[in-house]
């Protein structure tokens, strides 16, 4: 393992310390509970947005804290969900009297820990907490026989859109309903060209030969469902988009936000090349692209690979997407 680290056990806290030092005007970081806060939180009268998950997916979630997006992000250990104490602390700290929305990715650990936190928050402080669970990964057969679809790329788009709605002062019920609608309107699929190395594990999670790739990965370096022979980008884009388009709930002529995301070890050159392929496939399928996002936003450490997310949007969602956002990881209109 060759990484820019000191001690594998100190990676998260030292990275959070750096994040705080890099954004002193916008963020405040609680290093004990490992929570990243918007500096001006709690914002009175605004619904508080709390998300979180394992570290190693940067900029998600800590990099999406700020005006127009999250109020707080709880950082777990690398690829490990945070614990209920962190979510409790965050929930109490960001409640500006209008309640709190938990944005949870559908992974067993994240769901269980947020569930315990919501139970405790209700018993402990009476804060009105609602929860949305993202589950957009079409690689997973959505049946009784798995833990359900994983939450992947849609999480980023949801945090932006719902963050804007909360910023605009919409009430909790409305914000939570919108979150559910966004969550249900998006689909994703990812692939890996290499494994990543979890610092505390010290070696790659899985091995991939030079001439093969893993189709249908999640965001934790866990292997996907299928290992396939490597192919040109055009064919990889087709393999990602075909199942996404087949499952995307979308009215005729309805536009999408198209999101090509890097897993951490793939340069923008290749991501834009992939986006080019995506635009051609969508053009052929008669799917208009209303907005787009290309870059590494929900990563798996240094894994090479990418994911494609499509979100079917209406005018309200597009307006909220365009609204100002000012976070370390996403910034426009300010």
């Amino acid at each position: 393992m060759k990484k820019l680290i000191n001690d594998p056990n100190d990676v998260v806290v030292e990275a959070l310390t750096g994040l705080a030092a890099a954004h002193p005007d916008h963020l405040r970081v609680d290093l004990t509970d490992k929570v990243v806060y918007r500096k001006d939180s709690p914002v009175q009268g605004k619904v508080g947005l709390v998300s979180g998950g394992g570290s190693g997916h940067e900029p998600m979630h800590g990099g999406f804290v700020g005006l127009g997006m999250l109020d707080a992000a709880c950082a777990g250990e690398v690829f490990t969900s945070p614990v209920p104490d962190q979510m409790m602390a965050a929930t109490k700290a960001v409640d500006g009297g209008a309640g709190v929305l938990h944005i949870v990715k559908n992974y067993t650990g994240d769901v269980m820990n947020f569930e315990m936190a919501a139970e405790l928050a209700d018993a402990d402080s009476g804060i009105d907490v609602r929860t949305v669970v993202t589950q957009d990964d079409v690689a997973v057969k959505d049946s009784l026989y798995t833990a359900g679809r994983r939450g992947v790329g849609v999480t980023v788009l949801l945090e932006k859109i719902v963050g804007a709605a909360a910023e605009a002062g919409r009430p909790l019920a409305e914000v939570a309903d919108l979150a559910t609608r966004v969550s249900e309107s998006g689909r994703s699929m990812g692939l890996a060209l290499t494994s990543c190395t979890v610092p505390t594990a010290g070696k790659p999670t899985f091995a991939l030969a030079d001439d093969e790739f893993e189709l249908g990965i999640g965001i934790h370096g866990e292997p996907g469902r299928e290992r396939k022979p490597m192919a040109p980008a055009r064919e990889l884009a087709e393999q990602l988009l075909e199942p996404v388009l087949a499952d995307l709930p979308r009215a005729d002529g309805q536009p999408v936000i198209a999101f090509v995301n890097g897993m951490g070890g793939t340069p923008l050159l290749e991501l834009y090349l992939m986006f080019n392929e995506v635009t051609q496939i969508l053009d052929k399928a008669g799917v208009p692209i209303a907005r787009s996002l290309v870059g590494s936003y929900i990563t798996s450490l240094e894994m090479a690979g990418c994911s494609v997310t499509l979100l079917a949007v209406d005018d309200d969602m597009i307006g909220l997407w365009d609204a100002p956002v000012n976070t370390p990881g996403l910034r426009w209109g300010v």
Binding site: E77, P82, G109, Y145, T146, T205, G218, E222, R225
Partner: protein
């Protein structure tokens, strides 16, 4: 009859076991999960070991505190599951000074039911529950045949190990491993492996 000191010994031993076995657990997890089970369990049980110099009103208070500490430090799915196990285990032991074999059985049952409720796992889903359930049944059977705590825990640990090994050919239906579908077959479930270590540790220390 197990005194509070025996439970202290158990939790201390458990931290040593998890520190020693974390690489092996993480290897199992790398195969079908996300390569963090060993380090998570080592971190959580080490935090529990740090409590052991404190004084506790009774064994139940100790176990409850241990469970809360695991919930607060382990993360992932294992934190809520093992944390719930110890917190629920505390219930039937409230106010009991020297724990009898039958009383420990009631506590184990409460703990295992907590694991099942929190994880919503069924037998055969390829989870830690596949080690917990046979262990509980073996414990109860041994106590029914007049075994003492040590012998009953021996039987439970052996049954857990058999349950752990039985998970190897199965397709996972819960947790991270379920995303692999058929490819999860051929690997032992990491949670069933750590559960077996926990019961083997109990068999060594509680008597």
């Amino acid at each position: 009859m197990a005194t509070q000191q025996r439970f202290v010994d158990w939790l201390g031993d458990l931290a040593e076991v998890m520190a020693r076995e974390q690489g092996a657990l993480t290897d199992l997890d790398s195969a079908i999960g996300d390569a963090d089970h060993g380090s998570n369990m080592a971190r959580g049980t080490a935090a529990v070991a740090d409590l052991l110099d404190d004084e506790f009103a009774d064994t139940a208070t100790l176990l409850k505190k241990a469970g809360m500490t695991l919930v607060s430090t382990v993360g992932g799915a294992s934190g809520p599951l093992y944390g719930t196990f110890f917190m629920r285990m505390a219930g039937p032991l409230a106010g009991i000074e020297d724990v009898s074999a039958a009383e420990l059985g009631a506590a184990l049952r409460a703990g295992v039911e907590g694991v099942q409720q929190r994880g919503k796992a069924e037998p055969g889903d390829k989870t830690m529950y596949d080690a917990w359930l046979p262990a509980l049944e073996a414990y109860d059977a041994a106590v029914a045949a007049d075994a003492d705590i040590a012998a009953a825990l021996e039987a439970a640990a052996t049954a857990a190990a058999q349950g752990r090994d039985a998970t190897e050919p199965w397709v996972a239906k819960k947790g991270r491993a379920s995303y692999l579908g058929e490819r999860s077959a051929g690997h032992i479930d990491p949670g069933a492996a750590s559960t077996t270590l926990l019961l083997e540790s109990a068999a060594r220390t509680l008597r």
